[in-house]
Point group: C2
Chain length 136, copies 2
């Protein structure tokens, strides 16, 4: 929040400077007034784009990014996470084992631990929960 205020402050300052600069540039004849206006227009156009992107970022984050902190919080190990990804690809335990070069038994152990860490009863439920927690 502090960051936001500082950024806005600097932004407004920069804009005022831009205004003043273009004003004097026009008056002193160094700059065509059309170009000055065009510059201002372009700057504000990009400010609009930027702010809009910022405000939409929260929503897109919810719909697309991985919450690495949550994975740590749940104490999900690297290997368990790889197994989770395998599940999300629709693979069987045996197929995940082949993919990760370990036995099916090992995958079963990982899956079982994963389910208890995610509080899930089934692998499909684990997927649902994992999506909710934004970890896949």
């Amino acid at each position: 929040m502090k960051k936001t205020i500082i950024v806005f402050g600097l932004l407004i300052l920069a804009l005022l400077l831009l205004f003043q600069f273009s004003k004097y540039a026009v008056i002193s004849g160094d700059l065509n007034s059309e170009i000055a206006i065009a510059l201002i227009a372009i700057v504000f156009f990009f400010i609009g784009v930027y702010l809009n992107k910022k405000s939409l970022q929260k929503k897109t984050t919810i719909l697309g990014e991985i919450n690495h902190k949550k994975i740590e919080d749940l104490e999900i190990s690297k290997r368990e996470y790889e197994v989770l990804l395998g599940i999300s690809e629709g693979l069987s335990n045996k197929e995940i084992g082949t993919k990760l070069f370990v036995s099916e038994s090992t995958i079963k152990t990982h899956v079982s631990n994963l389910l208890s860490k995610l509080n899930a009863k089934r692998r499909t439920q684990a997927l649902q929960i994992a999506k909710d927690l934004e970890i896949i």
Copy 2:
């Protein structure tokens, strides 16, 4: 696409008019030049916001809408689709049966048909394929 061109054409026209208008307004002394610049800035700000929103809309649409036509193409019945939704919620066959007021056997039949229609070997794979086809 035609629509886009027309919209852009009108937009550019409107901007040129705005430019000319503010120019003459300033020259004739009806308008303070600072206010004219501010107006242009505001207009371009909102243009930036609008275009950005438009360009992001496609992505969100792609990532969120259900392709009803595909469901028909795959000959997935209404009931089968409800079962698919149950699977995506992480429910067991028995739980889906309870939810839809039918027996577990019925759900098994639906699931089996669903899997063959989606070319999946497991329910988790069915989920993956269904997401790919944008039907869930």
